[in-house]
């Protein structure tokens, strides 16, 4: 059975790809401000550039996952979407939010918190949009949780926990939280840490669905092992956020719990190494080869980032790495290396299902994909190197400006490789974007499978 065309899904995918390309452009421009300190300082300072970059890249993940879900929900449920009108309203609301936030940031209107820098009233719009997606998901799928595959659990968890964590992230509006810095910072780390877990659940659910389609093996997502790793991921979503707060004077118990929970990720790491080897040796899919290939690269990124994540969760190491670019390497590696590749595998799968098979698997795409991964690896290693250099400088009690001078060679490599990452992704994403644009606004010569 093929995945059927879904206009809402295509709209979300187009919004997602445009968000990513714009977000990366702002990221690259922000990177240049490290090398050229006065660059755009008075017109588009880092104070505006960073939230634009962060918001748009996060928007890519949420819209990309929502777009894929709009495509997959009718497929997995075998039913039409519960309400097409709610889905259209969701698209409209998402576009309105995007415009308000971006124009607001350009105009210097903030008032929010780290990662959610926009004024708090926008959260109400985000929650309203999210509830529209939740209604369509739960009313269409009507999951019977005893029987459904693990990706339904994963999507359900992501949907529910995003609602919980985005609400929790607004607790600072209450004086009880706002007027106590330790409570405020701890709850902020807690909400944001778990929010990352919630979008990971959405993306991983999507990736698990893609794996099932690629291999044709339905047992993968119904096995005890799959559910064991789902529950391990859920436990980490709920309790491992505290490894960000080792330096915050909250209770020691928070740190101990998060350390112990973070170390359970070692099991995930061991499993990846094992299954990665096995994948290479056994699986040779004929269908959706491109999605399979992207997933294989994503597995390497998971391996790299999980190793880094576990390393910086050790308190004795975290003491040195916290507040350095090693934390940024972890964040960038996860959002660009893992989430972006998993979503890309999903978009390619959908693209191949709604057009003629193999449309994307061209030499240019192949070369661009390798180029992108190589650039991202240099970028990632540069961030790790920058972090190590900063640690060494801090140990020598260097001041901030001395440290910035020492880091200048790294900043240059970081900026150049960042620009190359953008170029690589533009080359990869433009053909994918064209597929979904052709689906919504068909040209006479476009070949879209009407199923």
């Amino acid at each position: 059975m093929k995945i059927r065309i879904n206009n809402t899904g295509s709209w979300f995918i187009i919004i997602a790809i445009c968000s990513l390309l714009l977000g990366l452009l702002f990221g690259a421009m922000g990177g240049l401000q490290y090398v050229f300190p006065g660059f755009l300082k008075d017109h588009l300072s880092f104070q505006k550039m960073r939230p634009l970059h962060v918001y748009l890249v996060i928007n890519w993940i949420f819209c990309g996952a929502a777009g894929a879900m709009y495509y997959y929900i009718p497929y997995v449920s075998g039913k039409e979407l519960f309400s097409g009108k709610l889905a259209k309203l969701h698209v409209a609301l998402q576009l309105i939010i995007l415009v308000i936030v971006v124009v607001g940031f350009f105009s210097g209107i903030f008032g929010g918190r780290e990662y959610l820098e926009f004024p708090p009233f926008i959260i109400l719009l985000i929650i309203a949009a999210w509830i529209l997606l939740m209604i369509n998901f739960f009313a269409t799928v009507r999951p019977s949780f005893k029987k459904v595959p693990v990706y339904i659990w994963s999507w359900s968890t992501g949907l529910i926990f995003f609602l919980i964590t985005i609400t929790e992230a607004q607790l600072w509006l209450l004086p009880y939280f706002n007027n106590n810095i330790i409570r405020d910072i701890t709850v902020q780390w807690k909400a944001m840490g778990s929010m990352v877990g919630s979008w990971n659940m959405l993306v991983y659910g999507t990736a698990m669905f893609v794996m099932e389609k690629v291999t044709g093996d339905q047992s993968i997502n119904r096995s005890k092992k799959a559910f064991f790793f789902y529950f391990l991921g859920l436990t980490n979503l709920m309790f491992n956020w505290g490894h960000h707060t080792y330096i915050v004077p909250s209770s020691e118990l928070i740190k101990t719990i998060s350390y112990v929970i973070s170390m359970t990720e070692l099991l995930i790491l061991a499993n990846i190494i094992y299954s990665f080897r096995k994948t290479y040796l056994k699986i040779n899919p004929h269908k959706h080869f491109l999605s399979f290939r992207i997933l294989t690269y994503a597995e390497v990124w998971i391996l790299l980032n999980l190793t880094l994540s576990i390393t910086i969760s050790v308190p004795a190491i975290n003491y040195y790495t916290h507040g350095t670019h090693i934390t940024v390497a972890h964040a960038m590696g996860t959002t660009i290396g893992i989430n972006t590749l998993l979503l890309l595998a999903s978009l390619v799968l959908i693209g191949e299902e709604i057009t003629k098979d193999g449309f994307l698997f061209t030499k240019t795409f192949n070369r661009s994909f390798i180029f992108f991964n190589a650039a991202l690896l240099v970028f990632w290693l540069c961030l790790v190197g920058m972090g190590l250099c900063k640690i060494a400088a801090q140990q020598q009690k260097n001041g901030f400006y001395e440290i910035m001078d020492k880091l200048l060679p790294y900043f240059k490599v970081f900026s150049i490789s960042g620009i190359l990452v953008v170029i690589g992704l533009v080359l990869i994403l433009i053909p994918v974007l064209k597929v979904f644009l052709n689906q919504l606004f068909p040209k006479k010569d476009a070949v879209i499978v009407k199923n």
């Binding site: 401000q33 490290y34 300190p37 006065g38 300082k41 008075d42 300072s45 880092f46 104070q47 505006k48 960073r50 939230p51 903030f110 008032g111 929010g112 918190r113 780290e114 820098e117 949780f145 005893k146 659990w153 929790e168 607790l171 939280f177 706002n178 007027n179 106590n180 810095i181 330790i182 409570r183 910072i185 701890t186 709850v187 780390w189 807690k190 559910f227 529950f231 859920l234 436990t235 709920m238 309790f239 960000h244 707060t245 080792y246 330096i247 915050v248 004077p249 909250s250 209770s251 118990l253 928070i254 719990i257 003491y319 916290h322 507040g323 350095t324 670019h325 940024v328 001041g399 901030f400």
Partner: protein, 123 residues
């Protein structure tokens, strides 16, 4: 064990843990004064977190500010000069004297509550 039961137990544990974090797990700090609250709001309104960190939250383009006031090499005057004039990477936000005082007051409050930082010798 039934998957729904595992989920329910984990979710209840999460709710209990969250309640504890909101109360006993984070009760060490002193309360903020009205002026410090104003300083905190300005810190958010001007998105200072984009370049500066407090307790590890924030960007890296500017210096970490958790213990800027008690830092022997920086101190209140250093922070005040930056707030009034900007710097090579920092725009001049043209803060009024009352706004500068409020932000400084907020940074003093943060510094006074950075127990763990001082215990570890800061960075």
């Amino acid at each position: 064990m039934n998957k729904l039961w595992v989920f329910a137990i984990l979710f209840l544990t999460y709710l209990s843990y969250s309640s504890w974090v909101y109360t006993m797990g984070t009760n060490r700090a002193s309360e903020m004064s009205v002026r410090q609250q104003y300083g905190k709001q300005l810190y958010q309104d001007y998105n200072c977190q984009s370049c500066h960190q407090l307790f590890g939250l924030g960007g890296f383009l500017g210096p970490e500010l958790t213990t800027v006031i008690s830092d022997k090499n920086r101190g209140e005057l250093y922070a005040k000069v930056l707030l009034e004039n900007g710097a090579i990477r920092m725009p001049n936000f043209h803060f009024t004297p009352a706004q500068v005082d409020a932000i400084l007051d907020y940074l003093k409050y943060v510094d006074a509550n950075a127990f763990t930082y001082k215990l570890n010798g800061g960075k």
